[in-house]
Subunit: 242 residues, 2 copies
């Protein structure tokens, strides 16, 4: 899908160059998103399989993610300064700049989950109810991230709305897990530190969901040309109602 058709006032050569720059930014954001997806996948593997040999990989990938954020942000600033984009080009650049922060912080949450999971390795908690519940939450968070990145890649309004809607489900599941963990703490006070670690992992996954919702709100802004934050899902629900 072409990302830009607005810079028709430019001469064809400049216009082509500009399109390439925007396409490059778009590609890089998706690549950065891919790194964060991997980061989250690895964190979940450590959490569910207890494979703790992946820590160094996570640290290296975090550096790549941070570098990508700085690079893309600086590229966007340069585009704003040099190309002075308007309309949908401007929206694309601004959307990308906003998405960067959320994508990077999803990476941070993934790293946090991986660290927690490393600490839990050897606790022999496989097959336990909270481990399964965390894994379920993790699958939901990963699907939301995939959905948010796809919605951006394809400028898919319906998919963006679908991901926003899924945030409620992950919140509900998070609350169930919170109740389960609280219960276990009460029954076995000695296990409180371990259950708290799981609670932090669950919280991180819930926050990944929040950030995926943010990403999709930016995608809606990009597609619709208006800001839908703080308006409530109801008004976002049906594109036909616009």
């Amino acid at each position: 899908m072409p990302m830009s058709t607005e810079h028709t006032h430019l001469n064809p050569h400049i216009s082509r160059q500009f399109s390439n720059e925007l396409e490059d930014v778009r590609r890089k954001v998706l690549a950065m998103g891919g790194l964060v997806e991997e980061q989250l996948a690895v964190a979940l593997r450590v959490l569910t399989d207890g494979d703790a040999r992946l820590g160094a990989e996570v640290t290296a990938r975090e550096e790549q993610i941070n570098a990508a954020e700085i690079e893309i942000d600086s590229q966007c600033t340069q585009i704003l300064a040099r190309r002075q984009p308007a309309a949908s080009d401007l929206r694309l650049v601004l959307t990308v700049m906003k998405m960067l922060g959320d994508i990077e912080r999803i990476g941070d949450e993934a790293k946090r989950i991986e660290r927690i999971a490393e600490g839990l390795v050897g606790e022999d908690s496989h097959g336990e109810e909270p481990t399964a519940a965390l894994a379920g939450l993790g699958v939901q968070a990963r699907d939301m991230l995939r959905g948010a990145l796809d919605a951006f890649a394809r400028l898919d309004e319906r998919l963006a709305l679908d991901v926003i809607r899924r945030d409620r489900r992950i919140d509900a599941r998070y609350r169930d897990l919170l109740a389960l963990l609280t219960d276990r703490m009460r029954q076995t006070p000695d296990a409180i530190p371990r259950e708290l670690e799981r609670l932090w992992a669950a919280r991180s996954l819930e926050r990944v969901g929040d950030r995926c919702k943010n990403l999709c709100e930016y995608v809606l802004y990009l597609v619709r040309g208006k800001d839908v934050r703080h308006t409530g899902l109801a008004r976002n629900e049906d594109p036909a109602a616009e």
Copy 2:
């Protein structure tokens, strides 16, 4: 302090108008920051004094904060589209757009703390050690927010660095409180739900500190003209080392 001296290529009339627009944006961000400061102050009052009559006020103020975010963001987008700012003007507009998200989310954390505090009213926990520790954390978070907003208002690099440095202290204090609460849960399993609520409040205050650090990193970007995120405090420490 003049926020902009870069648009000298414009005719004097346009240049004056443009300066006024930038000044207006800057003023509105500070006003929005003031609302968030009040939101946090009220939340802390409910937390420490147990005065729960402030809930409606918090809800009303949250709407104002959300509306301010949308309005200022849209104003910035219009400035980018119409004025095509360069150099420090462009940095100011982009810095503001980034700050908005963090300021708004500090407001969200304040609201969350206020809700938790309301739930704790009547628990007769005044004079208890965690209440005092939470209050201390709250004072630190408020001071960081005040410092971050002042650093932006005055473009004060040293103050921004000072606030960034303080984030470590709030993190340390948060970890102490976490240990204290874990201990209390272990000793009195029946109090686990209450101690967890306090834990969430502490976590929110720690996150306010994180976001104040983000705000100050944006201020450094604005002042220095280069991105200091992910570079570690050491390299930010001494402006003379640049």
